[in-house]
C-alpha cells in the first residue's frame, strides 16, 4: 500500500500552474523530506492531499483512496498555526479543542478521548508542557505541543508543513528526532516540508524536491545534485557537499539559506483560508 500517490497532478491557482503533471509515490512508513523554494508549492501540495485544494487534472490517492476532506487517517500540522499561539489557554485545552472540535452538538471530553490526548502528548514529550499556558511556551515547545495534534486519530500519514521554521538548530534536531521516532515506533509515513535539507538529511528516507511545477522524488544522493536542481530551479545550480552537509548554490548565493532568511522576515507565512 502506498501512503500518498500523485498521478500526473496539475494544480492551478490564480491562473498559474503550481504543479504541472507531477507524479510521485510515498510508500507506507517512509519519512520524506519535502524541499523547494518559497512559493514552490509545498503547502499547496499538502492541502491538495487533504482535499482542500482541487486538482485541475490527474489523481491524488491517499492510502489507496481518493483525497477527501476530514480524513482521520491523515494527520496535519499547518504552516500557519492560527490564533492559538497568542492565547492564555493551557496547551491541553488547545489540543483537546482539536480532538473534539470536528463534531457539532454537546460533545463531552470523555475518558477514552483523554487517554487518546495523553497518548498523543506522550509521543512528542509534551505532557508536562500541556499544563502550561500556550502563549508562554517557547517556539520549540509550542511546536512540539501542536505536533501532538497531528497524531490524534492515529493517522497512517503525517503532513507536517515547515515544523522547523524559526527554531534554533538544537530545537530543529529535537523536532526531526521526534518525527523519526514516530516513523519508527508507529510506522507512520511522514511528509515533512522544510527550507533546508541539512537538519533532515540524516533522518529522512528520501527527498521530494519541488520546483517549476515539477516534483522529483528519490534518495538524497540522486536528487540533490547540480543537474536535477538546475532543472527544477530553472537556473544554474551547483551542489557543494561537505561531509554530511549540503550547500545548494546559485552562483555564489546559498539558495536554501536565502529562502530561510526571508521566511524569518515573513513571520508565520501566509494564510490559506479559501476566500473569494
Amino acid at each position: 500500500m502506498s501512503a500518498l500517490r500523485f498521478d500526473a497532478v496539475t494544480i492551478r491557482l490564480g491562473g498559474r500552474d503550481i504543479l504541472s503533471a507531477a507524479s510521485f509515490v510515498i510508500e507506507d512508513g517512509e519519512f520524506i523530506g519535502m524541499l523547494g523554494a518559497n512559493g514552490a508549492g509545498k503547502t499547496t501540495l499538502m492541502r491538495a492531499a487533504l482535499g482542500l485544494t482541487p486538482v485541475a487534472s490527474g489523481a491524488i490517492r491517499v492510502l489507496d483512496r481518493p483525497a477527501t476532506r476530514g480524513n482521520a487517517a491523515v494527520g496535519y500540522m499547518p504552516q500557519n498555526r492560527g490564533r492559538a499561539q497568542g492565547q492564555r489557554l493551557t496547551g491541553y485545552d488547545v489540543v483537546a479543542s482539536a480532538a473534539i472540535g470536528a463534531r457539532f452538538g454537546l460533545v463531552r471530553l470523555d475518558k477514552a478521548m483523554r487517554r487518546e490526548i495523553d497518548w498523543a502528548l506522550d509521543h512528542v514529550d509534551a505532557r508536562a508542557l500541556a499544563r502550561r499556558s500556550i502563549g508562554e511556551l517557547s517556539g520549540g515547545e509550542r511546536q512540539r505541543l501542536l505536533l501532538s495534534q497531528a497524531l490524534l486519530g492515529r493517522p497512517r500519514l503525517l503532513l507536517l508543513d515547515e515544523p522547523l521554521i524559526s527554531l534554533d538548530p538544537a530545537y530543529q534536531k529535537g523536532v526531526v528526532d521526534i518525527a523519526r521516532r514516530l516513523r519508527d515506533e508507529l510506522n507512520i509515513a511522514i511528509l515533512f516540508s522544510a527550507h533546508e535539507l541539512n537538519p533532515l538529511v540524516n533522518a529522512i528516507d528520501r527527498v521530494l524536491y519541488l520546483g517549476g511545477g515539477a516534483a522529483v522524488i528519490g534518495p538524497v544522493d540522486e536528487v540533490v545534485t547540480g543537474p536535477v536542481l538546475s532543472r527544477l530551479y530553472g537556473a544554474e545550480i551547483e551542489v557543494v557537499r561537505v561531509k554530511e552537509r549540503f550547500f545548494v548554490m546559485a552562483g555564489d548565493v546559498d539558495v536554501e539559506r536565502e529562502a530561510h532568511r526571508h521566511e524569518h522576515g515573513h513571520g508565520h507565512g501566509h494564510g490559506h483560508a479559501q476566500d473569494g
Binding site: G70, G82, A102, D275
Partner: protein
C-alpha cells in the same frame, strides 16, 4: 428596591442579556472579532430607527437587521484584513442609513437616546419574555456549534482540514452575536454594547486560563456588572448604563493588573 415591579423586570432583563452577552462575548474575544460585534450593534441602531419609521417595533428591526448583517459578515470568510475593511464599510453604510432614518423620524429625540444609551427601566414584561426566549435559543445554538467554533477560532487551517465547515460556523456564530447584541442594546444601548459583550469576556480571559471556566467567569462577571450597575443606579439616580460601563471598565483594568502580577 425589589418592591417595584419595574425594578424586578429590569433585573430579570439585565440578567438575561448579561449572561448571554458574557457567554457569547467570550467566543468573540477568543476569535478576535470584537470589531464585528461593535459594528453589529451600530447596524442595529439603523434597524431600530428604520423599524420605527415604518411603524414596526424597534426590537424587531434591531434583531432583524443585526441578524442579516451578522450572517453576511460571517460569509465574508476568515481573512482578517479584508474582513475588517468589509465590516467597516458595512458599518458606515448602516450608520449613514440610520442618519437618514433619523432625519425623517423627527418625532422624538428621547427614543433615539434610549436606543443609543439603553433604557433598561423601560423594559416591560412582554419584552422580557422575548428577551428570554431569544437568549435561550441563542445559547442552545451556541452549545451546538461550540466545539467546532473553538477549534476554528484557535486553529482555522487545521480545523478546515479536519472537516469543520468554516464559513457555516462563522456565519452561525455571528448570527448568535447579532441576537446577543440586540439584547444588550435593550439594556445599555447600541453605543455601549461593548461594555457587556467584550469587557467581561476580555477580563475573564485575563483571570482564567481554562476554557469552560473562562466562559462561566465571563458570564458571571457580566451578570455582576449588570446587576451592580442597576443597584448603584437605583441608589444614586445616575444612569444605569453609566454604572455598568464604570464597573465593566474597572473589572477589565483590574484584570490587566492581575495578569501582570500573575506572570
Amino acid at each position: 428596591m425589589f418592591d417595584y415591579d419595574f425594578m424586578r423586570t429590569a433585573f430579570a432583563a439585565a440578567g438575561v442579556a448579561a449572561v448571554l452577552a458574557g457567554t457569547v462575548g467570550f467566543f468573540l474575544v477568543l476569535r478576535g472579532q470584537t470589531f464585528a460585534g461593535h459594528a453589529l450593534s451600530h447596524v442595529g441602531f439603523t434597524g431600530a430607527t428604520g423599524a420605527v419609521l415604518f411603524g414596526l417595533s424597534p426590537l424587531a428591526g434591531l434583531v432583524g437587521f443585526t441578524l442579516v448583517a451578522g450572517i453576511a459578515m460571517g460569509l465574508f470568510g476568515e481573512k482578517l484584513a479584508e474582513r475588517d475593511v468589509a465590516i467597516g464599510m458595512m458599518l458606515s453604510l448602516a450608520l449613514g442609513l440610520g442618519l437618514l432614518f433619523l432625519h425623517f423620524y423627527t418625532s422624538a429625540a428621547t427614543q433615539a437616546t434610549a436606543l443609543l444609551f439603553g433604557n433598561v427601566l423601560g423594559v416591560d414584561s412582554s419584552a422580557l419574555l422575548t428577551l428570554l426566549l431569544m437568549a435561550a435559543a441563542s445559547l442552545v445554538a451556541l452549545a451546538f456549534i461550540g466545539r467546532p467554533l473553538v477549534f476554528a477560532s484557535l486553529q482555522s487551517e487545521l480545523a478546515e482540514a479536519r472537516g469543520v465547515p468554516l464559513r457555516f460556523v462563522a456565519a452561525a456564530f455571528l448570527a448568535i452575536v447579532a441576537v446577543a447584541t440586540a439584547e444588550c442594546a435593550q439594556i445599555v444601548g447600541v453605543l455601549l454594547v461593548f461594555t457587556l459583550m467584550v469587557g467581561p469576556a476580555a477580563a475573564a480571559q485575563n483571570f482564567s486560563r481554562g476554557l469552560a471556566g473562562g466562559v462561566a467567569l465571563s458570564a458571571g462577571l457580566a451578570l455582576a456588572e449588570a446587576w451592580g450597575g442597576l443597584t448603584l443606579a437605583f441608589y444614586t439616580d445616575w444612569p444605569t448604563s453609566f454604572w455598568i460601563t464604570a464597573l465593566s471598565g474597572l473589572v477589565y483594568f483590574a484584570s490587566l493588573v492581575a495578569r501582570r502580577l500573575a506572570s
